[in-house]
Structure formats: C-alpha cells, structure tokens
Symmetry: C2
Subunit: 234 residues, 2 copies
DNA sequence: AATGTTATGTTTGGATCCAAAGTAGAGCTT
DNA sequence: AAGCTCTACTTTGGATCCAAACATAACATT
C-alpha cells in the first residue's frame, strides 16, 4: 500500500470515526474521490479495505454505506478483544515466560508505576500511559506463539471504539482518569504475576476483565451505566 | 463486489489454499491477471481483500507474497475460533434462549441424530453433516446479540484451515469419520443443553473444546499427534 | 387513472495509459 | 579486483476511458 493509498484509507477511517458520514448513509466513489482530491482508483481500493475492516458494508447491489454500530456492538467488540487477549495471555502463561520477555514486561509495569507514583495525573501523562499500555498489550499478544491472534485483535481494533488504547479519554477530569489508570496498572501487575507463575486460567480471566476498563469503570464513579466516552486519540 | 470481482477473490483464495502459489513466493499483479484472464484492476482489488483476510502479506516495499502458515498458526486459528464461538455461546446462554431459537437449534440437533442413527456413514452424508454443522454454528453465533462476533469469526475463517466446516475430511475412512461426527454430535447436544439451562460458563467451555475436534481427535484414533488433514470442501 | 415499458441518466466495474519508485546489472573509477 | 554510481528495465500506483448495470422518470396503453 503506497503512502497516499494508506493515507486515503486512514483519512477515510478518521472521517467515518468522526461521524462525518452518517451511519447508514450511501457513500459514493466519486464524491469521496473529489472530497479527498484523488481519483476514483485509490478510493475503490480503500473501500475494499474498509469493507473488510467492517466500517463499510455493501448497500444492496450498488455501492457502500457507512456501517451503523449499536451499543451492543461496542460492548461485543470490547468482549471480543477481551477473549482474544485473554487467549494470548493464557497461551503465554502455559508456554512459560522467557527471561527476556519477563524483563520486557517489567519495563512497562515499572514505567506505569513511575507514572502514577506522584499521586496525580498531568495532561502530558496521558500520551505516556497510552504508549506504555499499548506496548504492554502488544508484548503479550505478540509473544503468544503465532501472529494469528494478533491479527484477529488488529482487525477487531479497526472498530474505533474497540482498541485497547481507547481507555484514556477525558483530559478535563484528570483525577477521575487517575483512578482509572490506577486500576489498569493494578490489573497489568496482576496479569504479569499470573504470567510469571504460569497461571494460565487466571491470566486469561484477568486479561478479559481488563478489557472492560474503558467501558465499565465509569459506573464505579457514578457516571451511570453508559458506555463511557468516545476515544480521544488515533 | 461484482460477480467477476468476487470470483477473482475466491479463485485466488482457492489457488492459494491449494498451494498453487508457494508460501513466501512473490506474487505479481500482471502474472495473476494473465493467469485469470482479467486486467490488473480486479486483481489489485482482490489483493487488498486477501491482504485483509491474512492470506497475502506485503513483500517489502513492492508487491505481495503468499503468507506462510506454521502448525502453530493453524492451532492458534482454531483456538481463536474456539474462544470466539465460546464467547457467542456464553452470551447466548446469559441472555436466555428464545423459544424460536431453541426450536431452530433443535432442528439441527435432530438432523444430526437422524444422520448418525443408522450406525455408519455414507459418502453423501458428508455434505449433509457439513450443512447442518454450519447451520448449528451460524445460529449460535448469529444470535449472540451483535454481528461483531460473527464478523470476527468470519475473518478468522478466511484462513482455510480454521473454518468450522473443515471437520470432515477423509471420505476414504468413513468409519473413522463416523466416530468423529458422533463426538461432534454429542458436543452439539451438550452445548444445547448448557444453553437451555443458562449455563454460560459451561456453554463457553464446551464450545471451545468443540473447536478442536477437527484437530485433535486424530490422536484418540492413534494417528499420532499431528494436525489432522487439510480440509476437503470449500 | 394506473400500470407497464422504454429511455435516459447515474454509478460502479474493468481495461488501459502514464508516471513514479525500485531493483538489477553493467560500466567506470579507485 | 572491488566498490560505487548511473542507467535501463520491471513493477506498482494513480488517472482516465469505456462498457454494463441499475435506477428513475416519462410516456403510452389499457
């Protein structure tokens, strides 16, 4: 995929994620091509990619439409990531952590501890957490013995609300986010503990539960049973 | 996707699955276009689709190559299907089976019983089982409350060895296949039982284990610890 | 007036053309 | 002789052109 081709896909992904195109709306090749200032060819290629990613779906015989996602879909996508990351964690626990891998995971655990040690959260901490969180998850999934699991997770993460780094959202309420990240950090440490001790089932269930943190921790803070907020970063 | 476009994708999928192109081999647009008797455009579109499906991967800066799959990948893909179908089953058990759904599942259970009642397997029974097995799985996954899980499974099933209907293989050894299908039928009935009683965890674990049937039952028959055989149907 | 048929317009899919990027090979220089 | 550079060829990506399919609207017929 060339740079500009990739750019068409990601620009389109961004536009869809931002709700520029209404869910259910028919989306034409020419319109998008003009909008993005390219010819129809890269748009046609991008449509196929986005169809596979699940952001677009066929609109009858002709053309595509923006896929509509319900709250149930969001919940399901998070659960899917949970079971897949859980599978990765269990496999990793069963095959045993190599010293190098334990070292690697310790790094991200430690960075998390340092980030939260000062007892509050700053604006710029958000990116740091996002990065270390991503690396922690990537390391586990990438060490599960086959890229197949990671691929499945990556495909699921194309749904903009399902990705693991869609946790941190509200830069305005940093104290609430701090408590959320504290819980996330604890969960990371528990997963690591289970992995080190070869406790496959425990690692799996912890990882599954961890997936819900972006979704359900709001209830603990009295925000109601909603779905949390849309993600901030991309 | 037009008919011929779809045909290019599926014809390519078939060729790759049959090992016509060697894993790791660079695959060029012009070569494939000539081979299939179409222009480069539909081939380019198909390559994007197959890349998303995981059958092709980028070969450096230029072009694609056929993805290579190890035994570990095959095992992982089956496990991925297991946890996803397990998730669907658990959700279904937790939300409760509607009478209509129980009725629907009973049909496929019953058809399975009838198929196996005569005590042996005939050549033409293979297709019948393949169909009812597919419908049983589809019904469960399709009723899990969101298409997201089904999509994830569908994407995983693009790996030719991961699909649920890749169970039945060896039309030469029908007595061995009969015993395999007997076990599969029992597992279907146990899953159904768990679903009816709202036993989410049990339904999940049964469904997970059921995923392995195409892979591991060979060991029970003294065929060695291999991966079973490649699938027969498409 | 209502329905069916035809014609026109819109949109997608396939083919071809052109440009850009990359790779390999040959020749030159040190 | 070895390494570097320049050139030519291969291959991919983007744009445009043409054909086919589908939808819509208008007109005619019952």
């Amino acid at each position: 995929m060339s740079d500009s081709d990739k750019s068409v896909v990601s620009r389109l992904r961004k536009l869809i994620g931002e709700g520029f195109y209404q869910p259910g709306e028919r989306i034409g090749e020419v319109a998008v091509a003009e909008q993005l200032g390219v010819s129809r060819t890269p748009v046609r290629l991008a449509f196929r990619t986005l169809e596979q990613e699940g952001l677009l779906q066929r609109a009858g015989k002709r053309g595509f439409m923006v896929r509509e996602f319900t709250e149930a879909d969001v919940l399901c996508a998070v659960e899917v990531r949970g079971v897949l990351e859980g599978l990765a964690a269990r496999r990793l626990a069963e095959q045993g952590l190599s010293p190098a891998l334990a070292e690697e995971l310790t790094v991200w655990i430690q960075k998390g501890r340092e980030l939260l040690a000062k007892g509050y959260l700053e604006e710029r901490d958000v990116d740091v957490w996002s990065e270390l969180n991503r690396r922690f998850h990537e390391t586990i999934v990438g060490s599960a013995g086959s890229p197949v699991i990671g691929d499945a997770i990556a495909r699921n993460n194309h749904l903009p609300f399902a990705a693991a780094d869609s946790i941190v959202i509200d830069s305005e309420a940093l104290d609430r986010e701090y408590r959320k990240l504290q819980l996330a950090q604890t969960q990371h440490e528990l997963v690591f503990q289970a992995l080190r001790h070869g406790e496959g089932a425990r690692a799996e269930m912890l990882m599954r539960e961890h997936a819900f943190i972006g979704l359900r921790y709001g209830e603990l803070l009295g925000l109601g049973p909603g779905l949390g907020q849309p993600r901030a970063d991309d």
